[in-house]
């Protein structure tokens, strides 16, 4: 049986609105207008133990709402949700004691306390036996290179340092599921790589199920065996990165460095999507023309210094998926405004 089961999850928010300007503010005092926003609109999925799943989607798509429902801090309006047999918001205390949660936008540590004291506080909160605590603390300190940070108050840490400490803090009680909400947001390149390497190791070596939301497609490419694309509170796509690509488009790109900048590339089965001096980007469908055949044709017509075939960047794939979804939405009956 899957570790996480979500069926037809729905969550709506009431958002107070007021007309702009002074008159709007005055009217708002007497009567509030509310608008209903569907943050989750019937999302369903199942996740097996040990998976590393990425949630992507534009802001307001329902990713974080899903994470909050799964981590027991938000009660959905309807639908079923079970994590290791527990309904998160009904068995909250029992549930949150066995999961780890990291929100990139806010720390779970205490601003005024040195890192090591935060860890000790967490030991008491999660009631981790002292020997087990010492073992997991020392291991996390070594893996995340926290030794120089232990006596620093959290408010003085850089974002990258804080994120490493937050990851350790979420894992001191050895949870078997880890939720990460934008774990790499705002981090520099080195910190991102460190965080990714750690998450990967955690999943591979310790078998921890990891669910992460992100806007950084490199996170997805580097980490996730499975990607769920959220939009408008629904899941547009669920599968491996390869499946996502195939679903959206079979398109490949051929990048050519020509010997001469004025050479003309004109292929009936491919489109020039960009040209920059001697460099040309061609988009083609490998089912229409095989890459080998296309390369043969191009090289037979003009002198080529270098070329390579690649997939369109994942950003492009996802942007197309969103665009297609918006077209659908306009076709369907309007939003949920009341």
């Amino acid at each position: 049986m899957p570790q996480i089961v979500v069926e037809q999850l729905v969550k709506t928010y009431q958002i107070a609105e007021r007309a702009p300007g002074l008159w709007g503010a005055v009217r708002g005092l007497a009567r509030r207008r509310h608008r209903t926003v569907r943050a989750l609109d019937g999302a369903s999925f199942a996740i097996e133990r040990g998976e590393l799943v990425g949630y992507i989607g534009p802001n307001g798509a329902g990713k974080s709402t899903t994470v909050k429902a799964l981590s027991g801090i938000l009660v959905p309006d309807s639908g079923r949700c079970e994590v290791a047999g527990r309904v998160p918001w009904q068995q909250r205390l029992d549930h949150v004691a066995r999961i780890g949660v990291v929100f990139g936008q806010r720390t779970q540590l205490w601003w005024d306390l040195p890192v090591v004291e935060s860890f000790e506080l967490l030991r008491d909160i999660y009631r981790v036996p002292p020997d087990r605590f010492a073992r997991s603390r020392d291991q996390l300190i070594a893996l995340l290179d926290l030794a120089p940070l232990l006596d620093v108050p959290v408010r003085q840490l850089s974002l990258g340092q804080r994120m490493r400490c937050d990851l350790a803090a979420a894992l001191l009680h050895a949870p078997d599921i880890l939720f990460l909400d934008e774990p790499t947001i705002g981090l520099d390149a080195v910190s991102k790589l460190a965080v990714r390497a750690f998450i990967q190791r955690l999943n591979r070596d310790d078998g921890v199920t990891v669910i992460l939301t992100t806007h950084d497609m490199d996170d997805i490419e580097a980490l996730c065996t499975r990607v769920m694309v959220f939009a408008g509170g629904r899941i547009l796509s669920d599968g491996t990165l390869g499946e996502l690509r195939r679903r959206v488009s079979r398109e490949r790109w051929l990048t050519i460095d020509l010997a001469r900048a004025d050479a003309v590339v004109d292929e009936p089965d491919a489109t020039v999507i960009r040209r920059d001096g001697a460099r040309v980007w061609l988009a083609f469908d490998p089912e229409v023309v095989a890459p080998a055949e296309l390369i043969r044709r191009v090289t037979s017509r003009c002198a080529v210094r270098d070329l390579f075939v690649e997939n369109p960047p994942i950003e492009t794939v996802v942007a197309r998926l969103y665009a297609a979804h918006r077209v659908d939405e306009r076709g369907a009956a309007g939003g949920g405004a009341t």
């Binding site: 009431q14 981590s71 801090i73 938000l74 004691a97 004291e117 909160i125």
Partner: protein, 282 residues
């Protein structure tokens, strides 16, 4: 009463949070020094006002002896940080950023969690200020020739013990009220609204601004039965002997009764508030 169950291990998280917050709050020495200056000045002003009133009024119209008023004022200034009229900055920040819901990520009973937090908030700053303020008002004032304005010793040992017990109950009341304040923020985005209301009510009804026995005839008994009297007025009246030692048990019973009511109310409201918590972002 505060946390369910009797297993001592169950209280570990709350004890740990209290300890951490308490140690952290003890670091604010500059704020304590500023507070000492402000509270001394404020106490002196209040006492001067009452002295002026007492000089110009007939002895029969005085519900309290002047010495009792002076002690009452100093006790109020000493425990001013215990009264639930100011807030914990961090909680306020948490409300504004919608982070209250994130407290739910921890495997703790949120009411007991916030109570432990309030307990640190209502004790550490008090200790920092009360100790030097008591020294100034008991020993310092006689040295400069203002012995009449000093904080006198409790009238008897029994009064001293009764005061200590009533103040402990007052602390529990202050914490229960603080948690109610935190809970009210589940319904509002800006903490200031409820804070202004509560701080006004607390400073009027606890006796901080005007000792409750000085209120007109029908108001004083009403105020005495409200929970706010337990914060300062009742303990201070036990201290100065206006409430005799024989009646201390009644005061304590009333305070404990209110603690039970406020905790029960807080737990109920918290349960309801959490169901409607809106977590920002999606």
């Amino acid at each position: 009463m505060i946390g369910p169950g009797v297993d001592p291990g169950r209280f570990a998280p709350y004890r740990a949070l209290f300890g951490a917050r308490f140690r952290m709050l003890l670091q604010y020495r500059a704020a304590a020094l500023g507070g000492l200056v402000a509270q001394t000045a404020f106490g002196l002003i209040l006492i001067m006002i009452y002295e002026a009133f007492y000089r110009s009024s007939a002895a029969a119209a005085r519900p309290m002896a002047f010495g009792q008023i002076a002690s009452y004022v100093w006790l109020g200034q000493a425990v001013i940080m215990m009264l639930p009229w100011n807030v914990d900055e961090e909680m306020r920040g948490m409300v504004r950023s919608g982070g209250v819901a994130h407290e739910l990520c921890r495997p703790v009973d949120l009411y007991a969690w916030w109570f432990a937090r309030a307990l640190a908030q209502r004790t550490a700053p008090v200790l920092l200020r009360a100790v030097p303020l008591v020294a100034v008002s008991t020993l310092g004032l006689p040295l400069v020739g203002l012995a009449e304005w000093r904080l006198a010793a409790p009238v008897s040992l029994a009064a001293g013990v009764g005061f200590g017990l009533a103040m402990l109950c007052g602390l529990a009341l202050a914490c229960a009220m603080s948690v109610l304040l935190y809970i009210s923020w589940l319904w509002t985005v800006v903490a200031e609204g409820t804070l202004v209301i509560v701080s006004t009510v607390v400073s009027m009804c606890s006796g901080l601004l005007v000792p409750l026995p000085l209120f007109p005839g029908w108001v004083a008994p009403v105020l005495r039965w409200l929970p706010f009297a337990g914060l300062l007025d009742q303990p201070a009246q036990i201290y100065s002997g206006r409430i005799p030692a024989a009646e201390v048990a009644i005061v304590l019973a009333r305070e404990v009764g209110w603690v039970v009511v406020l905790v029960a109310l807080g737990r109920r409201l918290l349960g309801r508030g959490l169901r409607r918590v809106v977590v920002h972002g999606g």
